[in-house]
């Protein structure tokens, strides 16, 4: 396959940046999208040019590091997968592909396609945890949890923090990411103890980072590689309303 790529190039966070066009040839349909960029980069290095910088790590869809908007869709056109799991057979010979970084005030571009997602870390640090004194490992099943509840908590826990929800949302809202953690921990007995403080602090941090507000468009759910549901956003709203009405945090 031969492809024409329009890729966002930006030297550093202060650079204005712009699109550059590249031709790649002899791309195998069995290559992953990232391998296709690897091929381009080898070419660029040989020519003495700066390779295209992009984030990646596991390349098997579990770390959430790979982040790029491909033809206007975070992680490309396929449902329920990350960019590293996207294969070139999803494209056709001669296609023109535009590749952009996540776009959000809270995710400033560091270089080319790499953005700074530490805003997500700070949201988790604000309350996305359970405070326990670590000791010996507790016995399995010492706290009974109903299967349906465990399932729903696991669905929320699938979030890999990639940021596609923010990238897809017209408001650059981080509500799906934030609510997945709020919802997961609110469902489980271990998380219930701190639920009020958690939701208040995490939502506060999310807004302080400069993410937009949710308009319930559902774009996040549609683009999430782990297909996390809007149900968790609704639960986070319930948690928030309940915490604001009942918490001791005056």
């Amino acid at each position: 396959m031969n492809l024409k790529l329009n890729i966002w190039r930006q030297k550093d966070s202060n650079d204005k940046g712009g699109f550059k066009t590249y031709q790649v040839s002899d791309v195998s349909p069995d290559m992953s999208f990232l391998e296709m960029i690897d091929v381009l980069n080898e070419d660029l290095v040989k020519k003495g040019e700066e390779p295209v910088h992009f984030d990646h790590d596991c390349r098997e869809g579990i770390c959430g590091t790979c982040s790029m908007v491909i033809n206007g869709r975070p992680h490309g056109p396929k449902q329920g997968i990350t960019t590293c799991q996207l294969h070139m057979r999803s494209f056709s010979d001669g296609d023109e592909i535009t590749i952009e970084p996540w776009r959000a005030r809270a995710f400033p571009v560091i270089k080319d396609l790499i953005v700074d997602r530490s805003a997500f870390d700070r949201i988790i640090q604000a309350g996305g945890f359970v405070s326990v004194n670590t000791g010996g490992a507790p016995d399995a099943n010492s706290i009974p949890i109903a299967k349906e509840v465990a399932n729903e908590a696991m669905d929320a826990a699938q979030c890999i923090g990639c940021g596609a929800c923010v990238a897809a949302c017209k408001n650059a809202s981080a509500m799906l990411f934030t609510s997945a953690k709020i919802s997961q921990l609110a469902l489980l007995p271990q998380g219930k103890l701190e639920r009020q403080r958690r939701v208040e602090k995490m939502i506060w941090q999310m807004e302080a980072e400069g993410f937009g507000a949710c308009t319930n468009t559902g774009a996040c759910e549609a683009e999430c590689p782990k297909e996390i549901s809007l149900v968790h956003i609704a639960r986070a709203h319930r948690e928030y309303i309940a915490a604001k009405a009942c918490s001791k945090n005056v």
Binding site: V69, K170, N171, G210, T215, T217, G218, I241
Partner: protein, 227 residues
């Protein structure tokens, strides 16, 4: 009080205000529609005139109407603050935007649709509310010994103008799109999303978004054809 203000001014709190005021307006529209449908009665406007007279002279209705004005302004004002915040959250946009593949047009156009509704409301209130309350030259009729505004005649004359009736029909289409997303969105904002009932709420919302603006739009069409 501090916690209360901070709750209501947070992004989530503003969404709750949007949802509560939106749902109030949804209920209000049903009452408004039931009144308006009397314009279609073939009685020379008698039923509509009696109804209008009652609405304008009942203390409770007048109180609710004040509240309604307040909620519309609150809904519009809060939506504007969210719009500004949301625009700021993405200073650099995408070159290629694939939003059509992941969300509905109406859900992405709530601000545009709401603004058009707001313009409609200004025109509507100027013509049919301000004119009755403070204007002069409204024709009167006497029904059962009570002299009252001939609201029917005033409305029918307005709708005889194709520009006015056309504007009303267009605005009802805009309202339909606003509610196509807005109805179920309000429940989501209040945290009400569950497999047990969300399907029903969505279906009810789509039905409401078609039937209520649809019936509103039929009135100017019929009165225009009868002119």
């Amino acid at each position: 009080m501090n916690w209360f203000i901070s709750a209501l001014t947070s992004g989530v709190g503003r969404k709750v205000i949007m949802a509560l005021t939106g749902l109030f307006l949804i209920l209000f529209l049903i009452v408004h529609l039931l009144g308006n449908l009397q314009l279609l009665k073939d009685d020379g406007g008698q039923a509509f005139n009696v109804y209008s007279h009652f609405m304008a002279h009942n203390g409770l209705i007048q109180l609710i109407s004040k509240l309604n004005f307040f909620f519309i302004l609150l809904h519009a004002f809060v939506s504007y603050t969210l719009y500004v915040r949301n625009k700021k959250a993405r200073p650099v946009g995408y070159k290629v935007n694939g939003a059509a593949a992941n969300s509905s047009w109406s859900s992405r156009s709530m601000t545009l649709l709401g603004t058009l509704i707001f313009i409609f409301l200004l025109v509507h209130l100027q013509g049919f509310w301000y004119a009755f309350k403070f204007g002069s030259g409204i024709p009167t009729v006497t029904i059962d010994g009570v002299e009252m505004h001939d609201a029917y005649k005033w409305v029918a004359e307005a709708y005889a103008n194709p520009l006015i009736s056309g504007f009303y029909v267009f605005s009802m289409i805009v309202l339909a799109f606003h509610l196509w997303h807005g109805f179920s969105s309000a429940f989501q904002s209040l945290g009400l999303n569950h497999v047990k009932y969300t399907g029903f709420i969505k279906a009810l919302g789509y039905a409401y978004a078609i039937i209520v603006p649809g019936l509103f739009a039929i009135i100017p069409i019929v009165l225009y054809l009868k002119r």
